[in-house]
Symmetry: C2
DNA sequence: AGGAACGTTGACAGCGCTACCAGCAACGAC
DNA sequence: GTCGTTGCTGGTAGCGCTGTCAACGTTCCT
């Protein structure tokens, strides 16, 4: 019905095709698979599109092709520093690809996750990134039935839905405790907050290491379901100290807690590391600048997000990785807070010790 | 032809309508404007949809209605704590509404912002949230031509595109400096990183306050374009101290820098606040737990994001706010790092002083 | 009583794009 | 020379939904 030159002056594929002197379908192909066109038509369509300032209509494309170019991402928290690094990795990888990111926050609730998953799946995403390996049975079933690639991030486990990228929190915690053992520490406390599955596995790693050395005592463990914070680190450490005044080290489930412990020690004039050693988890930026500098377990958060999104996009485009489960490992970054002698002289400007000793371990081999 | 019972067994609006015994268009209306239906049909459609587990196809809806239910959000950084709070506010507000969030990262580049804006606008978003008031001329023109509501967040300025929510960074900086004056400080340094427009305006506020008191000296200002970090705070403070050993206070453009300054002081055994007072900006959680507790300018980041998204959604739905520009103000939270006497005894557990004195100021009245 | 106004419903015709299949030329194999 | 085969192109027919308009019954007004 005389549908040329749409009233609102919008540029449709048909206009581009007309200007290029090809059929709409050929123009369409140019945007999806340029190699399928002859060079002549390819350049004609390209310049026509540029001249008209054509922008494809994603809704029409999604409707016609029965699939979207959206990657769904489900993470438990928007505030946690850990996830902001992961997210940045994901967004960086998605840029330049034709996929866009649809982000949702499960607030550490697997029921909420299930609900969001249902929502996402109904829109037929091109791919999905989900956090962790602890889904509801229902969620798990939906993921397995989904006809798109899926990456589980943050940790690795025995039974991937599809792809998986992360590291073993259990092994990482064991390595942290092993480091403290090496430094001659015996009464090592554990401080944890939120107690999501990954923190729980860090606790498990700590417990197993302590039990292996016949040093485990329940009262050395202080945890809470409350979301983590520096202030909470102060409070939990105070609790721990009240239970066990002879403590000679604390392994904190994350760096915020470690910073809180550091502050609380300073407040109580407890010498670090002479009286108590501190080890954190994640190696956030400030750990290297604290006084004393704080030992932590470095995790590759940005890389985790970036690789996950990259792998996912490759899989969507039909190039599945040969290795669907990727262990990114971790490193214990040894700093002053847990090493008995301050061997290095104070650096000129920043508190970062230039001579951080690193203990690198690929996780996953128990 | 014969398009009933789509092959893949997918539930379309037509199936719902058939089961409910109404026409598809009536069923469609149920999802968009239930009040337009008679009670009888409303309940019939509702139960039919529930029975079939109908989920609307957003792509088809977008194509047919020529508009999407996507709110575009442009922020400069995914890593910065400040923005993660804002984002959380935005996502929280979008939940429960029918709008979904499309997030993109401008990396503090207004050119990148322009590019993303073009991309977003091409998809006809339902609304847009952009950061700050410094857009390129081109971006500004696009925003003004856009036929959707727009909220500028993070700061307020004279000439809103549409709606605006934030506070005056200039006034907030002046208030921070005024507080230091009150405490008898005179040689007040400024430490800033990244120097995005908002940090620049904090610097402007600092400069004007110092000039008003005839205390401004260029060498009191240390800034860098480098992204902010705690480590950078250490380094910049060291620079500042080298230039001006008689310093008696530092105003840091954000809390990470302030923490770095704190650590560097500890490293150099500079007494806080006796020798040097520290004031940060944003009042991140850890400021209340540091030793000594750190004074900061509290900003309502979560509320900013939440209110912005709420206002935007209201505006999309046709209920424009009577007051399109909202000043959320700020508060100088006075803590030990800038108050001369430690009047409060040590709290039992956390470092947070229970008796934080607050100076609240609605910004915007110079 | 006649007609306007309203509330409710449905038919029709796309929205802009792509899946599918058919067509055609050019090429090599038999 | 005939028959595939490959590479490129185009026509047709929707994808699932909603905008528009018309039609209907009911109520309210004059």
């Amino acid at each position: 019905m005389g549908r040329k030159r749409t009233k609102s002056g919008k540029i449709r594929l048909a206009e581009v095709a007309e200007l290029a002197g090809v059929s709409p379908i050929t123009a369409s192909r140019f945007f999806r698979n340029p190699e399928a066109l002859s060079i002549a038509k390819r350049t004609r369509v390209e310049s026509a599109a540029k001249e008209l300032g054509y922008v494809p209509n994603l809704a029409a494309r999604a409707l016609a092709s029965q699939r979207t170019e959206v990657i769904g991402v489900l993470i438990p928290s928007l505030t946690n520093n850990v996830f902001s690094d992961v997210l940045r990795g994901i967004y960086d990888a998605s840029e330049g690809s034709r996929y866009s990111i649809q982000l949702s926050n499960t607030r550490y609730s697997i029921l909420q996750e299930e609900k969001l998953l249902r929502l996402f799946l109904a829109q037929k995403p091109a791919g999905l990134i989900v956090t962790g390996i602890d889904q509801t049975t229902e969620s798990r079933a939906m993921l397995e039935a989904a006809d798109c690639p899926i990456v589980q991030i943050m940790e690795i486990g025995p039974d991937p839905v599809d792809m998986m990228i992360g590291f073993s929190h259990y092994d990482a915690a064991r390595a942290a405790v092993a480091h403290l053992f090496e430094q001659g520490r015996r009464k090592i406390g554990f401080v944890g907050a939120r107690m999501d599955p990954r923190v729980q596995r860090r606790l498990d790693g700590y417990v197993s290491a302590m039990k292996d050395a016949a040093l485990f005592e329940q009262r050395l463990v202080v945890t809470t379901a409350t979301p983590t914070s520096v202030t909470l680190g102060c409070a939990l450490f105070a609790d721990l100290l009240a239970r066990e005044p002879d403590l000679d080290a604390v392994f904190c489930a994350n760096d915020d807690l470690a910073l809180g412990v550091l502050f609380e020690c300073r407040r109580r004039e407890i010498a670090i590391p002479d009286q108590i050693a501190i080890v954190g988890f994640n190696d956030l930026e400030f750990m290297a600048s604290a006084v004393p500098t704080l030992t932590s377990v470095r995790t590759n958060r940005y890389e985790m997000g970036n690789t996950a999104a990259t792998m996912l996009i490759e899989a969507i485009d039909g190039r599945r990785p040969e290795q669907p489960v990727l262990d990114l490992g971790f490193k214990v970054i040894e700093r002053q807070s847990s090493t008995s002698r301050h061997s290095d002289s104070r650096p000129a400007v920043s508190g970062a010790s230039a001579a951080n000793k690193m203990v690198a371990l690929p996780s996953g081999h128990d």
